[in-house]
Symmetry: C2
Subunit: 336 residues, 2 copies
Amino acid sequence: MSVPIIAIDAMGGDFGPHCIVPACISCLAEYPSLHLVLVGQSELIESLIARHSGVDRARLRVEHADEIIGMSDQPAQALRSKPGSSMRVSLELVRDGVAQACVSAGNTGALMALSRHVLKTLPGIDRPAMIAAVPTQAGFCHLLDLGANVDCSAEHLYQFAVMGSVAAEVLGAARPRVALLNVGTEDIKGNQQVKLAASLLQQAEGLNYIGFVEGDGLYRGEADVVVCDGFVGNVLLKSSEGLAVMIAGRIEALFNSSLVARMVGLLALPLLRRLRGELTPAKHNGASLVGLQGIVLKSHGAAGQEGFKSAIRRALREIEEDLPRRLQGRLDKHLL
Amino acid sequence: MSVPIIAIDAMGGDFGPHCIVPACISCLAEYPSLHLVLVGQSELIESLIARHSGVDRARLRVEHADEIIGMSDQPAQALRSKPGSSMRVSLELVRDGVAQACVSAGNTGALMALSRHVLKTLPGIDRPAMIAAVPTQAGFCHLLDLGANVDCSAEHLYQFAVMGSVAAEVLGAARPRVALLNVGTEDIKGNQQVKLAASLLQQAEGLNYIGFVEGDGLYRGEADVVVCDGFVGNVLLKSSEGLAVMIAGRIEALFNSSLVARMVGLLALPLLRRLRGELTPAKHNGASLVGLQGIVLKSHGAAGQEGFKSAIRRALREIEEDLPRRLQGRLDKHLL
C-alpha cells in the first residue's frame, strides 16, 4: 500500500482547530506512516501546531484556505459563494489525488453537497449516503442513511442497501444480513417507498436481504445493515444519543438519592462510565459518506479529540480496504 | 360525574384474556366506582374470572363476541370480514353510549381502522393519531403520531399538533410547548411535509408552537408535545425501547464481569431496576387514539398486567376530563 495521506478540514465542528489540531498530532504519533494535510486558516493552525513539541512536520503539511463554511450555511450557499472554503479545498485534494481521504466535522448538508459536486458519485448511484456503526445486543449494525437524504424514493433505498452491504463487508461482516427499517415486520406494513424497496430487494441476487426490521429489532441485533431514509435515520440516531445521555444522568441521580445509594454509586460509577462511549457511536466513531468516487468521513460536530481521532482511524481503514473501488465492483453487479 | 364504564377487548395482545382478566379484576378492586364490560369468548373469560374470589360481578359484565382479530390481519380484513370481533363490539359499546371508553391490546392497524369506522373522527380531523407520554430529562413529553399514519401531509401534522396540545393540557401541562420533530433546528432543514407544516404552525394563534426539535432535544425535554408522522414516531418509540432494554442488559453484564463487580452489582441492581419501567413508557402506560368521537386506549401488545392496568387508568383520566369534548371545543378555534 502507498503512504496514506488524509486531508483534514481543520475549521469544522463546534471546537474547530483547537480540537482538531491536537487530535491530528496525536494520530501522527499513533500511525508512523500516516501523512496529514491540515486545511484552513494557516496562521491559526500553525500557531496551534507550535504549542506541541516533537511534531514530525515531514508528515504534517498546512494548506491555507481562507473561507469557513458555517454550521447554518445552506448547502447551495456553500457550493456557490465559498469556492475557497477549507471543506471544499480538502475535498479537492482527494479529487486531485493529493490525498486519499477527507475528514471533516463541519456542516453535514454542505459536506454532502460539496462531496457530490467535487468528487462525483459512483456510476449508478444517484445520491451518496451517510453510514455509521450502531451498537446492538449482538455487536454492531451499520445504519444508513443518517440524514443526508430526507426525501428518498424506493430506488434510493435499494441503492443504500447495496452500498451498506458492501461497506459492512469491508468493515468485517461476512455475508451481512440486510434489512429495511419499518413499523412492522409483516409485508403489509410501511409507507409506499419502503414497500416498493422491499419488492426490489427481494429480487436482488447476491444480497442477503432478510426483510423488515423494527426499531427494537435493530437493537436486538437482528440485522447487520439497516436501511432507512435520512430523516428516519437521523431521528433514530439522535434520539438514541439523547436517551443514552438521559439514562446515564438518571443512573447518576439514582446513586445520589441516599447515603447508601451514594456509597454503592461510588463503587458502580466507574463501571457505568465505560458504557457511555459505547452508546453514542456516531459522536465517537464518525460516519462515512458512501457512494462517492473518494473517501469522505464526517466526524460529529460536537465530538472531542477522541471522536475526531476515531474518524481518522476509520478513514485509514477505508483507505486500506479501498472502499470506493470495492463498492464500484459490487455495484456493477447489483444495480438495476 | 356519572359512573365510569369501560369496554375491554379481552382477546387482544400477546397474552389475551389470561393477562387481561386478572388486570381488570385488580382494577375493579382499586377503583370502587369503576364498571367494566369484558368483550370476547365468554366461556373462556368466565372460566378465568371464576379463578378469582370476591369479584364484584355487579361491576363486571361479560359480553360475548365470537371472532378475534389476529396480529397479522390487515385493517381492511378486520373491517369487512369480522363484524363480530371482540375489538369491534367493544368500540360499538362506546358508540352506543353503553361504555365511555374502550381499551384494547390488539392489532394497532385494525384498532385504528375500526375506531375510525365505528366512532368516526371529530369534525375537521382527517385521521386519528396515536399519542403516548415519553420520559425526558425534564419529565414527560407527549409524542404523536406513533404508527397509525405512515404517510402524512403537512395538514395532518398540523392537526396532530393541535390535538397533541389539547391532550397535553388535559393531562396537566399548562400552555404546552409544541414542536415539530426534524433533522435540524434551522428553517432550511427537513422534508417537504415538515417544512410546510412549520409554516402552517407559525400562523396558528393560541398554540404555543416553538419550532423544530431534534431527537436528542426531545429527550432533553425541549418540548411538551412533539409531532411527527407515524413512521418516524413508531421507529423512535420502538428503537428507544430496544435501546433501553439493551442498556439494562449491558449494565447487568457489567456487574457480572468480575467478583468485585458482582458484589457492587448486588447492591446496585435494585436501584437500576427501578429505571426500567420508566424507560419503556408505551409498554407500561399505553397510548391514546386522539381525534375520535370517543375514547380509545391502546395497550402495548406485549404489556403484562401492570401495563394493561395503566391503560385502564389512563382511560379513566380521559373520561374524567372528557377529552373528546375538550378537543372538539379547541379544534373549532384552531383548525384551518
